[in-house]
Amino acid sequence: MKFLSDEWIKKAKQITAEKLDPEKDLKKATTSLLNIIENIPPNGSSIYFFISVKNGFIEEFIINKTGSVLNKDAEFVVIGNYDTFVQILKGEMSITIALIKNRINIKGDKVKALKFVKPMDKFNTCLRQIKTEY
């Protein structure tokens, strides 16, 4: 299914809720994250992807194109372009490498953000199970 299509978003919510273990995978994390994916082809639009977890349980998982989630008070905001997010989701580039290479910018406490890199990797690994057309 097409990356970031309504169908893909629905599947992403379902698969992460089903497959991710709050303790083992998400390390009982409590945080919120807003990803801003820029330059989405073909017209260069942006998509906003908000997730909040409490004690490792996903509480909110919102993906929209209008930016309404910008009102959410996310602990971290991650901004990057479409190609970078695709590379991360495909497992071609780790979040840390993307950060070190300036491909993504993180706003928020970076020390704390780095603690969530592993749970985020698990999250992305889970999304990788969706047969996605990029």
């Binding site: 330059n39 082809p41 260069g44 372009n81 479409y82 190609d83 970078t84 590379q87 071609e92 580039m93 780790s94 979040i95 840390t96 490498i97 070190i100 290479k101 300036n102 491909r103 970076k110 020390v111 953000a113 780095l114 603690k115 890199v117 592993k118 990797d121």
Partner: protein, 653 residues
């Protein structure tokens, strides 16, 4: 025979060329006219790395390893070499290699291939667009051009899914970035590629290189204007250190520059220009007054823009690790400094680092010396010796017979010289340095001599040889002359090198410090990796750091030595460069190096008051006041754990 069979058959002709090419380390000196011989005419005319000697080496490696098929541009590349021999002279001086043999073998190989067997690389829409932005000639996706950037911005086996652009102006570069951003195409700039070539040999390769997309080769931005009234120079990013220094000297001034081959703007942005001259000239933003940058959206930024948010601000947190630049620097206006008629080099040899630091730190605090550093005998030997073997023997003699392991190396005026000579027991002056440079082959040949055995039995061998009656014996024994040193080169190059060494600057230690043509010899057919960083200038801390880096180097069986220690801020801070040498052709050596990098990074981050070199990368545009005040506290166990996980993901890609 099929095309593949023909190629396999003639590939054997490349065997010798391949064995030369793989020893190359991309020191970048073939693009610098440091011997007055000119530079490769083909490279100068055509620009892309493929047309330069080191790029041809990568092409031969790729052909020999079946990673590249002959393309029409490859034919043009091979035949553009006029076999003029300039590359042999430059490379032989630096690395003792003969790249012309590689270029000749490539020409011969290409000329054996049938014209119909060269593949024409199709122009896709991206290339069409890039060519419309920078000009037809200055954008390429030809695999032969792409592979020539291997090891200097792309990793081996990265494939050829790349484009190269060579913009001529900031505006052209900005348009390319706008296009890349809009179309989600990654990109990365490159100066001469020397620093990248070092890191691409390590576990940091994926973090510093480009995995696909657009390579920005910035060599064409060549503006170089001296403002005599304001004592500044405005330079494009394609200007290298040697070119700027040469122009500054013509106007009776000096610039703070890195090694001769380093592109000045790139070096400013990457590491702020780390130099022994930092004692007086400073670091980072101390030396530039304007910079032109392009951000990730293609917007051109000038540091002088009034509405700009403080561009000098950064921090030294361990999370602030950036291994690729966030902006592309295209131009800078740098300060130029006065040159004094009475400048002279004075070297003070010591057996221990402890003693050397005592003197150097005292001088730094008193701001004595325009250029001031502690260097190891390893560094001195490598720099002044024309071959690895001579360097090895020179160092052996220095350590074992003369008991000089460290040198306080000062360039100063006559007043400072008096201070140094007043404090030091023994000094090595310009005349003796000329003797050691031109006499280095003879000096090295004395390794097992009675002369040195007798000398080593003296109570103070250093004093005896550099300040006592044996000084004149040494000068006589070494018979220092351009003719003598030229003998170590291949017979056909001896006349040329005799002329080179007859030039006064080749033995003028002040000139050699300012033009920095010798450090590239550290990459003479092998590689090294920098460790260390900026540290508060506390003697015990520096000694402990030196010991730790020595122990880890030994643990991983890597030849290792202190490089140099220079000073900033009236001796308040020191930069320590410690080097691990390794055979870049030996996978086992790479593996040991990588382990040593991880271990030393973790150990260094625990030290209060030390900012490891990795944390200086891409901080050069900032004020040192932001980076060094206060120095890091040293990481907690919790933070070290996070860092460990971070490093693991970097290693894993």
């Amino acid at each position: 025979m099929t095309q593949d069979e023909v190629l396999t058959d003639i590939k054997t002709d490349l065997k010798e060329a391949f064995s030369i090419a793989e020893k190359g380390t991309h020191c970048g000196m073939c693009k610098v006219d440091f011997l007055g011989s000119g530079v490769c005419p083909s490279g100068k005319k055509n620009g892309f790395a493929a047309y330069w000697p080191d790029g041809r080496m990568e092409i031969v490696k790729a052909l020999y390893s079946d990673k590249l098929k002959p393309t029409e541009e490859l034919k043009q590349i091979a035949n553009s070499c006029t076999v003029c021999g300039i590359c042999d002279k430059q490379c032989n001086f630096t690395t003792h290699l003969r790249p012309e043999k590689v270029a000749k073998a490539l020409k011969e190989y290409i000329n054996k291939i049938d014209d119909n067997d060269f593949v024409k690389t199709p122009e896709d829409n991206t290339l069409k667009k890039l060519r419309s932005l920078v000009g037809e000639k200055w954008a390429s996706n030809d695999p032969a051009v792409i592979v020539s950037y291997t090891k200097t911005i792309i990793i081996p086996d990265a494939g050829v899914n790349f484009y190269v652009v060579m913009p001529e102006t900031t505006e052209e570069a900005a348009e390319v970035i706008k296009y890349a951003d809009k179309n989600n195409i990654p990109y990365l700039p490159r100066g001469n590629g020397t620093l990248l070539s070092m890191f691409i040999e390590t576990l940091l390769a994926k973090a510093v290189s480009l995995e696909k997309g657009i390579i920005f080769d910035l060599r064409r931005l060549k503006k170089l204007e001296i403002d005599e009234e304001n004592k500044t120079a405005t330079i494009g990013v394609g200007v290298n250190a040697f070119e700027l220094q040469k122009e500054a000297y013509k106007h009776g001034m000096r610039a703070l520059v890195a090694e001769a081959e380093a592109h000045v703007c790139v070096n400013i942005a990457s590491v702020g220009i780390i130099s022994t001259w930092g004692n007086t000239y400073g670091w980072g933003s101390d030396n530039f007054i304007e910079a032109t940058l392009i951000d990730s959206k293609g917007t051109i930024i000038h540091h002088s823009d009034e509405e700009l948010t403080n561009p000098y601000s950064t921090n030294n947190s361990f999370t602030n690790l950036t291994l690729t630049p966030s902006t592309i620097i295209t131009e800078a206006t740098v300060k130029l400094h006065p040159i004094f008629e009475d400048e002279e080099a004075v070297l003070v040899p010591f057996e221990t680092l402890d003693e050397a630091l005592d003197l150097a730190m005292e001088l730094a605090k008193r701001r004595v010396g325009l250029s001031l550093a502690v260097i190891s005998s390893k560094y001195l030997s490598e720099f002044i010796s024309p071959t690895n073997k001579i360097a090895e023997d020179f160092e052996y003699i220095a350590k074992n017979y003369l008991k000089f392991n460290f040198i306080v190396d000062i360039v100063c005026d006559k007043y400072d010289k008096m201070i140094v000579e007043d404090i030091a027991d023994v000094t090595i002056d310009q005349k003796m340095m000329r003797t050691l440079i031109l006499g280095s082959p003879r000096f090295a040949s004395l390794k097992e001599s009675e002369f040195l055995k007798i000398l080593s039995e003296e109570e103070n061998p250093l004093k005896a040889i550099f300040a006592g009656p044996m000084k004149s014996h040494l000068e006589q024994a070494l018979d220092p002359s351009p003719k003598q040193i030229a003998k170590v080169y291949d017979e056909d190059l001896q006349d040329f090198f005799e002329k080179v060494y007859s030039k006064p600057e080749m033995t003028d230690v002040v000139w050699l410090h300012a033009f920095r043509i010798l450090p590239s010899r550290l990459m003479r057919q092998r590689m090294f990796m920098l460790r260390g960083g900026y540290i508060v200038a506390d003697k015990k801390k520096i000694l402990d750091l030196n010991d730790m880096l020595n122990k880890v180097g030994d643990k991983y069986n890597l030849p290792n030595a202190l490089g140099f220690i220079s000073f900033l801020e009236n001796g308040k801070y020191a930069f320590v460069e410690y080097d691990y040498y390794f055979d870049h052709l030996d996978p086992n050596s790479h593996n040991r190096l990588n382990q040593s990098i991880v271990e030393t990074l973790q150990l260094q981050l625990k030290i209060k008051g030390l900012l490891p070199i990795e944390y200086v990368f891409h901080k050069g545009l900032f004020r040192k006041e932001h980076l060094f005040y206060p120095m890091p506290e040293g990481l907690s166990d919790d933070e070290l754990k996070i860092l460990g996980e971070m490093v693991q993901t970097v290693v894993g890609g």
